[in-house]
Structure formats: C-alpha cells, structure tokens
Amino acid sequence: MRRVAIASMAQSSGGESRDSLMDFTFRVAKEALDKAGMTRDEVGCIMIGSSDIFHSGLSCSNSFDWDGTGAFLKEGSRAEESIFAFIYACMRIMSGQFDTVLVTSLVKGSENPDNDACTSFFADPFYLRPVGMNETTAAAMQMREYMWRYSITEEQCAKVVEKNLGNALYNPYAHIKKKVTIDDVLSSPTISDPLKVLECAPKSDGVVSVLLASEEKVGELTNRPVWLKGYGCSIDHFYPGDRDLLDGELKTAAAAAYKMAGITDPKKEIDVAEICEPYAFQELLWCEQLGLCGEGEGGTLIDSGVTRMNGTLPVNPSGGVLAMNPYVSRGLYRIVEAALQIRGRAGEHQVDKDVKTALAHGTQGFAGQCHSVVILEG
C-alpha cells in the first residue's frame, strides 16, 4: 500500500465568524496551500467534507463549497463528514492516481439551528423523530446506562469537562475558553437528565484544511511529514434500542485501525489521543472501547490523571469537542490536533512527552452510531 502523509494543515478558530461561509472556507484552504508553497493549480485533487442542508442551509453543499475549497475544474468529490473526506482523500493517493489531495471540511454552526434540531433529522420521520430522539437524548440515555452498569459517577464525568476546558485555555483555536471546576459542571442546569449543560458540546464554526501527499511527493512540501498508519471505521444499527449502547461498534473500528498500524497494545503504544466527546462521559466510554483502559474503567482512568496534559496518555490536549464543536469538521480537527502534537507544533498545548504515535477519533449519530479511528505517526 502506498504511504500517505499530511504535508500541511490550517484551521480556523471555533468562534463565530462574520465571513460568509465561502470566504471563510477560502482563507483556510489558501493558508494550507501557502504553507506548503503550493498553488491551487498544482494540487492533484480536491476533497470536501461538508454536510448539506441540515448543516448549512444549502442543498447539495458541494455546489456552494466548490469555489472556496479551490476545486474549480479540478478532479474532486465531497464526503458527508470530515474523516470520511480525509480517508477518501488518502485512498485517492494510495491508488497511485494522485500525488496530492487538499481536504477541506467546513461548517458554520453559528448560521445553523440548534444542534438538537439538526441531529433530530437523523431520525426516521415515523417513530424516533416524533418521540424526540436526537444526539443529546440518545447520549443522555447512554450515560444513564453507563453510570448504572459500571458505577461511573457524575463527578467522574464532570472531570472530563474540567480537564478539557482547562486544556482549551492553551489552544488559540478553541471556541470555549472558560475555566470550570467540577462543581461548576455539577451545578450547571440539566439539559437532558443526567446530562448537564456544561457536559454538552457547543455549536461552533470551523473550517479545517489538510494537504495530503504521497511518499514520493511529501519531501518537497514539508520536512515534518505525519504519516497515516491506520484507519478503521464502523457503523452500528440505526435504532438505539437494537444496540447495546455500551458495547458499540467503536471496538470494531479500533481493532481495524490497530491492525493496520501494527499496534498490539494501544495503552502503551499510543502517545496522545484526540477523542470526539460531544458529551463529557463519552470520552470515558470511548477510551474503554478504544482499549485505552479496561471495560468499565473509564472512571478510574480519569481519576488517575493519566489522560491529563502531563499524564502518560494525554487525551484531548486541544480541549476536544467540548471546547469546540464544528459538527461536520470536528473529526478532521482531531486529526489536525493529533498531527500538531506529533510535529511538536501544538504550541502552548503541546504535551509534555515525545509524541510518535497519535490517535484521532470521530463519531456521529445517536449514541455514537458511526465511529472512525485514525492512527498517525511521525
């Protein structure tokens, strides 16, 4: 299999942008090209990660997105989610057909209705939508089961918020910059019991661009390539009632990614992880399913301090999705943050240890119906 590396990347901050989505996209895509000293004409292929009307107000979002991503009369395509766009772009290079692909994912949460309104449209119109299913209500039910089955406490879940928002204070791109204590979290208003408002991700703007290159080409573009080592993706049954919400398909995705990357002991071999946790407790649950701790041990993991910035396995040094949630782009943000850590270029939120191997994770759907796992290496 042909090797693929990240040659350059650019990201916007998560705060509300006054730019039109088109201009907002252009600036970030251009920055990623400029950093690699490349022009739009020289890129082999353009890949867009965006979601149409429910996350942009425009149907066939690739139409509007085409110009800002630099895709005029270029080979290209669009995937409905940013990690999908990333891996499809990698496939294009692996196939030998292209040497470079510019992947851009974009969304302006500030223009869209509430997250809950958007995600309720994932539901079928007859059954789940009328009874109020959306990502938040599904997550709340998942959290209750998690606490019930494994005696995870509300404090342990709240600790994730305290840690991640604490990390975000050092990330110049993060949307939410607020120091919160565990008590702040526990006393914040209930959204969907047992979920509290500070345990739920915000709605952010976010454009992120990654220039990918083949092994032959990447040397011309950067002296710090970050390599794709592993990938796994898996989707679960649609109806939450058909699944075990605590034993989902993330394990399958992780196993595939580890196998491809040759990882046998993720706890030891992964230096840092960027995990998609739109709801605080999910970071703990996903850590279990990613094999970063044992089953039901998510609570002890956070208590131990291992996942803090200075711990042995930092999780979400960027502040994670709790600090910034550009819905469609959030997966690619995880990849970019993981790559920055590998390059040692994360600035103030660079972790204390040498990072050789990093994990990036993305998820969408009710209670994590679909997961993607990416392993990167320096």
Binding site: N115, A117, Y127, P130, M141, D193, H237, Y239
Partner: protein
Amino acid sequence: MSKEYRTIRNDVSLPYRWSLGPVWTRFFDGLKDEKIYGTKCTQCCKVLAPARPFCPGCFGAMTEWIEVGQEGTVTSWTLVKNRYYGQIKEPPYIMALILLDGTDCGFSHFIGGIEMTDVEEVKKKVAVGTRVRAKWSQDKNATIYDIAYFEPVG
C-alpha cells in the same frame, strides 16, 4: 436580524410524504387497535418492535408477526428539560428505552403519568429496571402518538 453583522435569514421549508410501506402501515394500524406488533426473524429468532421489514442483523425478510407485550422494563431514560428549535413537545418530558415483554430490543417512547418538575421525585418512580405499561391515547391516528406514553406500573 439578531446579529450585529449582516446576515440573511433563510428558512428552508419543504413538504414531505414519506412511504410507510406495508410493514409499518400494519404496525401503525395495530396501534389504532391498541396492539403493539413486532416481527420475528426466522434466523436469529429475535422479536423486534416496532415491526421491521427485515432483520437488521441477519438481513433476511421478517415475515412472522407477533403481538408483543404492552408492559416492559425501562433499560434507560432521560428527563428532557432544555428547549430547542422544532422540539416535539414542551419540556419537561421523559424519553425512555423500554424492553417490551416478548421482544429483544428497546422501544423508544415517553414515560408519563407522573410529576416531572423535580428530577429527584422522578427518580423515585423511574429507574433502570422499572416496569412500565402503555397508556393509550383517546384519539388514534395510526401514528406513534397513539401510545400516549408508558406509565410506571404499581
């Protein structure tokens, strides 16, 4: 406009008529008669409700119809308190996953018939493992709302 910079309000409004297909039509007709139907997979023998045209696990058609229990056990629940655009009803309300007797999957619906203003009071009546029973609506339109909610038993 609510924002201090120039924006365009773009309300997308479109009409739909989604096909129920024969299986869901029959399921919703059943609700009208105060019956909850599931279908059984001949391969894995799971009974799923609402009724499904095919088994999500085995991919085979599910043609055996079974009337399932109107009582079941709560496997998880949430008390919804926040408001959002297009919300289905005024909060607070309780959504739950209920394992109906004779089925092998969670049924998503409301829990009602109890006071919901104080979550601590709710927790005394609703928990994982609580038994609940379907409470039927007076007016029936062959929709999921023909079941008004599930109420704790006893």
